[in-house]
């Protein structure tokens, strides 16, 4: 078992606390089948360092895990890690989680770039991402009122701490996914073809049962020739249904 990064410095009143979904991503990435897929895709000695982008880093536990265990998962330790989150408090928290995890790991760890405060992958140069990871706000629940985002995304003027309303808003951002829990995920899926590297890009997206995962996978396969979507990790079987699953999205050239 690879070590889980420490997040003990974070106040989880306004940043998503690592939970079953987060751990399912860690387990999936480090599973023998997935790490052998990743190694065969990225371990080519003459290839350039892959860029790992995590969208919605939250505490940073997932990106820190991928960064710190790069050699074990990807078969190389020269990869680059970059993250985004809509919540500026999560950006600060995740940055610290990753720096700490990399310090603990020494030379087995990768190169850490930064976390940017942004919407999904909208600020990322097209086709530059080799491995994209997204644990979205996937719960079918009303989306928060984004008109308050600027106000709530920073400490209130002259204050040292956030307000209760602010914390509730920031936590809503981490789980509320609107109709079918798919509003944010659908926007991410739309960006994936432009974001991924044309040859070796691959994305991992978490879905829950209410997201209608079979339908989602079918839609991805309809993007065009070569697009593949397969479930590569799951947890919490309930009456034959997987509660959570990780879908791998990639393109084959055949």
């Amino acid at each position: 078992m690879l070590p889980t990064p420490s997040t003990s410095h974070i106040c989880f009143d306004r940043v998503y606390e690592p939970a079953e979904d987060s751990f399912l991503i860690l387990d999936t990435l480090s599973s023998p089948s997935e790490s052998s897929f990743l190694r065969s895709r990225f371990n080519e000695p003459s290839s350039t360092p892959p860029l790992v982008l995590e969208v919605g880093v939250g505490s940073g536990v997932v990106l820190a895990f991928a960064a710190a265990n790069a050699s074990a998962i990807f078969g190389r330790n020269d990869l680059l890690t970059l993250g985004t989150d809509i919540n500026s408090f999560a950006c600060q928290a995740a940055s610290q989680t990753i720096s700490t995890a990399l310090k603990d790991q020494g030379r087995q760890g990768s190169m850490y770039l930064d976390i940017v405060n942004g919407d999904l992958a909208s600020s990322i140069r097209p086709h530059s991402v080799d491995i994209l990871i997204f644990n979205p706000p996937y719960v079918p629940a009303e989306l928060p009122d984004f008109s308050r985002h600027d106000l709530f995304n920073a400490l209130p003027e002259g204050q040292k701490t956030t307000s209760f309303d602010q914390d509730s808003y920031l936590l809503e951002l981490s789980y509320a996914g609107g109709v079918d829990g798919m509003i944010v995920t659908d926007r991410m899926l739309d960006q994936i073809p432009q974001t991924l590297d044309l040859e070796r890009g691959v994305a991992y997206v978490l879905l829950c049962a209410q997201n209608k995962p079979e339908e989602v996978k079918r839609r991805i396969r309809d993007w065009g020739t070569g697009w593949r979507a397969e479930t590569v990790g799951s947890s919490g079987k309930q009456a034959g249904w997987e509660k959570l699953q990780i879908v791998r999205i990639w393109k084959t050239t055949l």
């Binding site: 350039t48 330790n77 909208s122 600020s123 990322i124 097209p126 432009q194």
Partner: protein
Amino acid sequence: MKLLTLNFLTCAIKSCKSTPASFPLHPRDAELEIVEADLNILFLKNILPRLMWDELRVIGSELGLPELPSTPPTREDLVEPSTTAIAAPTSDGTRDAGEEEEEEIPTQTAKDLHRVLLETCIKEGKLVCGNCGHEYKVLEGVANFLLPGHLV
């Protein structure tokens, strides 16, 4: 925020992305800080083909950094000639930079490149799109790419 990160960022406005002028973003009123990081020679050698060198030179000169050479260094430029190691695969077949690093001594060129890409950070300031002129703020090292219309 590290200068290497700018190699992977662009204006967040959709219609800008397809125009060459939206990359790179131009730092303005930037307060820089040096944050020391370990030098990984294998990484530096491998990243060369991914660097948008001309754009990096533009950013460097806009920040008032010492001028970067007009062409990117080669892999050979980064390692002292006498120390080049034969990359030996480890027992589990993975490549481990750790073993190479002990043998390979980085040149001044490698150290300079490392300093520019990974140790020179924008602490406060703005990043400006060359196409639409939009200014993205950098606060405490975190760039803010959120646009008002984004979330709806």
